[in-house]
């Protein structure tokens, strides 16, 4: 075998790999994921403070439209989200601002997908979702769950016109509560994934959208979380 043969064999094999990657990689889907993660991290930090041209409508003005109704309610921090605190004391918009800063960006991207790119409707969905979250603030402060999945469930229901649950959906009761107890001992990421996939019966794709994660990650996490749950159950039965 001559050195040139090695090169051409490599190039051919490389082309085959490339062709197989073309079949496997979903570039459009990847771009959507990228856009979601960018907006999730840029919106809270920049959009609220800067009254930029394009963000103005969804940023400060958005908040202004919300805040006249808002009065301070305690306890609206999500146990698992960023450790933001409502330091603004008794200010009426503190809770909403917090909600907005932490969730509006990704909610808007999510809502845009739900409304097929209709920005006005998407904004309405986000506003309604955050208002509901604010109204339910006393219930949302319960530990042991993440806020964003619930917000996204509500947003979906508002956007699709499905009945909206009166309060945050809880775990189904199991007879002696063993599963619920075991769930409580899982890591938050494991718990969240099981709640989405097993207890709410979502598909992997839906769960991925709700949790803002790649589908592959949801798949592998589900598997790992189930293992962890099994281990936890086994330990508690002993």
């Amino acid at each position: 075998m001559k050195p040139e043969d090695v090169d051409s064999a490599l190039v051919r094999a490389g082309e085959r790999l490339r062709a197989s990657m073309e079949r496997q990689v979903d570039v459009d889907g990847a771009f959507d994921r990228l856009r979601d993660s960018i907006s999730a991290r840029t919106t809270p930090a920049t959009a609220v403070r800067e009254t930029g041209k394009s963000r103005g409508r969804t940023g400060d003005e958005f908040l202004r439209r919300l805040t006249p109704h808002a009065a301070a309610r305690p306890g609206l921090t999500d146990a698992n989200d960023s450790p933001a605190t409502h330091d603004s004391g008794g200010r009426g918009d503190a809770v909403l601002r917090l909600l907005y800063e932490q969730h509006a960006g990704s909610l808007l991207m999510f809502a845009l997908r739900l409304t097929g790119g209709d920005r006005r409707r998407a904004e309405d969905v986000v506003r309604e979702t955050l208002l509901r979250a604010w109204r339910d603030a006393h219930r949302l402060s319960r530990p042991g769950g993440q806020l964003r999945p619930w917000l996204m469930t509500v947003a979906r229901q508002i956007a699709t016109g499905d009945p909206v649950p009166e309060s945050r959906p809880g775990l189904p009761d199991d007879s002696d509560g063993a599963v619920a107890r075991a769930l409580r001992h899982l890591r938050p990421t494991d718990r969240e994934i099981l709640i989405e996939t097993y207890f709410r019966g979502r598909t992997v794709t839906e769960a991925a959208a709700t949790l803002n994660l790649p589908v592959e990650t949801v798949r592998s996490r589900t598997y790992l979380a189930l293992r962890a749950l099994r281990t936890a159950l086994r330990q508690r039965h002993r």
Partner: protein
Amino acid sequence: MGDLAEDPDIDEAFEKFFRAEFLSAVTTLVTSGFTRPAAEDAILAVLADAYEQWSAIIHPRAWVRKAGYREALRRQRRDRDGLLRTARIAPREISDQCPPFDGQDRILRWLGQLPERQRQVVALHLDEFTYDEIAQILDIRPGTVRSTHRSARKALRRIIERERRDEAETREDR
């Protein structure tokens, strides 16, 4: 698409780059030894980080591969540590999560037998980077790239020849 940033020009350049390069960058990482999902996640993560300073990146094609490789390594380590903490899972079971290829990808079989550095050089060379560019991406001297590539081709020649012999013996001649 729009709506990414205040500056529509950056948006456009960013998206254009993404659509032109994502598949190639992922393929380079896969050729270097990562699974497809891991490669995709790593490239997406570094792009999301880079988005705000996008215009400051002078050689985005090279940069995304360099940063992507580092990120993929970092994630691999983190995931492994996380798995060890979460549950006792054998490495076999981890890789079962995302069976990337069906064994038809000869190049992965071949390159898998090379040391990491050689694999990277071959992957980037196939991705049509010059020796100078590869040197910058890998932080080594161009002369080292050249000699590494030479060693890699020598090793690959042995690997391919052995494989062909084995195939001939089992009469699965292509």
